[in-house]
Point group: C2
Chain length 531, copies 2
């Protein structure tokens, strides 16, 4: 199956996505004008040539040399993920530790050989997919290893096998979202996992971090689409059987899902696919009262309507994305099916929303036609957000997102506390009032996943520390409300303090024991998740 053959667009080594999609200076200035206290002119775009990139601290054996590069540009692009604090560090010329080497294995044996070599030479190995981590998941911190190898999986990007009868495919873990969808499309099949990072993240990254995808209800995480995993560990390759379901002991796959490269390197997976949807209907519903909109969403989540999209934007978020201009909260509802029309389900959902004060218009039934204006505005803004974040970062702003999940009984107080306490922390840290917006990205019968955006002017040069102070306040609120440290961004290194509190201690001990067994030389992604 051939990949797409168009010339690749240049990826940014320091910021989100494609270089040619970055806001230019004029757009940065316009963005900065939205936040009082930001710089008058954008910080310059950082250059690889200005980075202190030394000679690599390790040399691979000749048998592996062809897989490995020490090219400064490649190394710089593998030094960090794409969190705000990564971007800010790059802008201030203080990036994380640049890896000594970057390897691109093309198969399990090469990956295993690289792990063997690294294990024998005290070289840390950081598995690297699309590099879109926003939690410090793909960088090295500390000094316990004398060299760092970034293990880039993107040379393993093929759909190797398709079982049309069972609607599933064996896919290499290094395939970026569009790369795998391009290979599935000719078969009329789709994984339909669309995180915000879709273009810049890989199947393996989604699996290793339990990514949240397209579906706002039911199958929200990538976990549920996994039929089997192939994981290269220093202790051997773990190959689970392809099964639609099993009750044979604890799920082997569930140990590796979310293991964030600390137990092994996921190299391929059999994934459950679906037919491309032929029926779609979407609509937005506006609410004057945000708290009543929460009740509406809960009613829909506790029905069996199973919307594909059920994203609630608070007034600030709705304004920013253009979904509403009158201070309303907006619920974006979408249904899709390959089986039959979804108009009735949409209508029932809108009725539920109306019963809680929603102002829905007559459902705009959509079978391939453009969705209603608010829905469309939201989708466009959604994909543009990370670029705008980087534009604001160039204006000296502190701007980042964080997300969580909690049961419904805690949701209203949790959102209120985040606004109040994170707002207070931001004001204290920066001296400026922060914009704090909230949306619900995924909803469940028993709870929801709020996603927050914080934006505030920083003090030039101190942006990373300011954000760390604000984030510490956020983590504290989440902890006191027993809300998870992450619903789908993963733990990485940035979420370790919250994760270590949340994780039950006997489970932590079991996980460490598993780690010690599978990674006896402790080379795999040291400092992420555990250890």
């Amino acid at each position: 199956m051939p990949a797409t053959t168009s010339a690749p667009r240049a990826r940014s080594w320091w910021g989100w996505g494609y270089v040619d999609a970055h806001p230019d200076d004029t757009e940065c200035i316009a963005l900065g004008a939205l936040l009082p206290g930001t710089l008058a002119r954008p910080l310059p775009v950082p250059r690889v040539a200005d980075l202190p990139i030394g000679r690599p601290g390790a040399t691979p054996p000749p048998s592996l040399a062809h897989l490995v590069t020490a090219d400064p540009g490649v190394r710089a692009a593998h030094a960090m993920g794409k969190a705000y604090r990564d971007v800010a560090r790059a802008l201030r010329g203080r990036p994380g530790r640049i890896p000594d080497l970057v390897a691109r294995p093309t198969g399990d044996q090469e990956a295993a050989d690289l792990l063997d070599w690294a294990g024998g030479h005290g070289v840390a190995v950081i598995p690297f997919g699309g590099g879109s981590s926003v939690v410090g998941g793909v960088e090295y911190r500390g000094d316990a290893h004398h060299a760092v190898l970034s293990l880039d999986l993107t040379a393993m990007d093929r759909v190797l096998e398709i079982d049309a009868v069972s609607r599933s495919a064996r896919i290499q873990a290094g395939a970026l979202g569009p790369v795998l969808e391009d290979q599935l499309r000719p078969h009329g099949l789709t994984l339909r996992h669309f995180p915000q990072s879709f273009e810049f993240s890989t199947l393996g990254g989604w699996l290793a971090t339990r990514a949240g995808g397209h579906y706002a209800t039911v199958h929200t995480h990538i976990d549920d689409f996994v039929q089997s995993l192939n994981v290269v560990t220093p202790a051997g390759v773990s190959r689970s059987w392809r099964l639609p379901a099993s009750g044979a002991g604890p799920s082997p796959d569930r140990l590796f899902l979310g293991s964030e490269g600390t137990l092994g390197v996921i190299t391929e997976a059999w994934m459950r696919l679906r037919e491309r949807p032929r029926f779609k209907a979407s609509m937005s519903v506006a609410f004057t009262d945000f708290h009543r909109s929460l009740d509406a969403v809960r009613a829909i989540a506790q029905s069996d309507l199973a919307p594909a999209n059920c994203r609630l934007l608070d007034p600030g978020e709705a304004l920013l994305s253009g979904a509403s201009r009158d201070g309303s909260a907006v619920l974006v509802l979408g249904f899709e099916s390959a089986t039959g029309p979804v108009d009735d389900r949409l209508a029932t959902a809108v009725d539920l929303a109306r019963a809680h004060g929603g102002r829905g218009e007559t459902p705009a039934v959509d079978r391939g036609a453009p969705a209603d204006a608010a829905v469309s505005a939201w989708r466009t803004a959604f994909l543009r957000m990370p670029y705008q974040r980087d534009g604001l970062a160039r204006m000296g702003a502190v701007v980042e997102t964080f997300e969580t999940a909690a049961t419904w009984d805690k949701i209203p107080a949790l959102i209120g506390a985040v606004r109040a306490e994170v707002g207070a922390a931001a004001l204290k840290a920066t001296g400026y009032p922060a914009t704090i917006n909230c949306r619900l990205t995924h909803v469940y019968p028993d709870g929801a996943a709020p996603y927050f955006t914080v934006a505030v002017a920083g003090r030039p040069g101190d942006e990373v520390q300011l954000w760390d102070d604000i984030k510490a306040a956020a983590n504290d609120v989440l902890h006191r409300h027993h809300a998870t440290i992450t619903h789908h961004h993963a733990v990485g290194r940035d979420h370790r303090p919250g994760y270590d509190i949340q994780r039950p201690e006997p489970f932590a001990r079991a996980l460490r024991a598993a780690k010690d067994t599978l990674d006896p030389h402790r080379i795999l992604n040291p400092g992420a998740l555990i250890g």
Copy 2:
């Protein structure tokens, strides 16, 4: 919340369920007449008084003595599960090792104290819920421990807390199905997990074995209904946070789900509930061609109709349950909802079945009214089956079920191979032709869970060995077809050979490391699952 107060019906120590529901001698003889070669008269009902029950090999400390009994009847009832081979062993006076003691803790601290004492005295601990294991999950085999304690959780059977907003409840693990549903009913809520063993199995047992429940599609296993777990391990209590979802590392709960009492004792869980369904519709569809019926079920499983019931009975199974008398395969379809009418979904599913040769009648819409005759016959037969199995066992028959799951591409050949090879093995072992029936209990977009019933006359006294020979042939077929050793019956001790092959070796090593950490004295359910 008070439990039901009606006088408890007597449970059988050696056979399924209630003593007063057991087939009497006349019914046993009638059942035996269906299988050529069975005995003329039933084997006598075994008596506790005839068992070789000695003095216990350990004495609990005074502080725990009030929780512990050495009563012979209680010990006998905790000696084994309720597999055919358990029943046959009891009927032949050769039961598994009788535990020395049975303890009934009333809370976490008492459970922890019992584990502490056992760990310090080399006493094996077998967690025991309803005792309905059909895989040797609750008995002790071997002689590495000088005494065996059966840890009966049924004194912990309360719904402790209900969060109506988040539709969830904190439930003690020892609650039998009806006991927990009785406590939820006044709140208009239900767990709606109805395995065949519903009356005789506990929440903790369901969780520890990843039980399959009511729903034939989507949320088939109890796993998906778990919000958080409380697990008493020898290394401390593991308490996960109540969360609707999380992406923070590998799921702690998923390590304990399916751990079968080897890592700790699940003592309570926050469970996701739902409203009781108000809309129901069910119907059966007959097929002349079993293979086309498989295609029909696959089409329905790959739609987004999500039937609650989608059980396909092969002609033999349909005949035995009274769902059909003309040699047809029968698909039992059921839809239910608390949100709105399900008639359209049923109609669409029946259309799909018709497109594959199904002979459905006009949908019999059912809002509380009796379901159609085939559906009703099936339900009644379903609950009666284990009693009839025991009646046949008393007639010297070898009769048991086993189940699996595989992707759709493998299903037709798998079912054919089981019929042929298990049939040949049964004939070879017993000299009689076996009845082998099949149904699909749960279906998925990517596969299905076939459930087989084998019945054949045995050789008096050799029944257990005959069954073990037949089961070995079954396990061999499953292995060659890469079908799981169990979809929802669990591994226990009987499935160890198949499980040990299926489980990826690196995962096995990680699991053993977790076990060594959490259960350093190796007292927890030795021989089940691992170790």
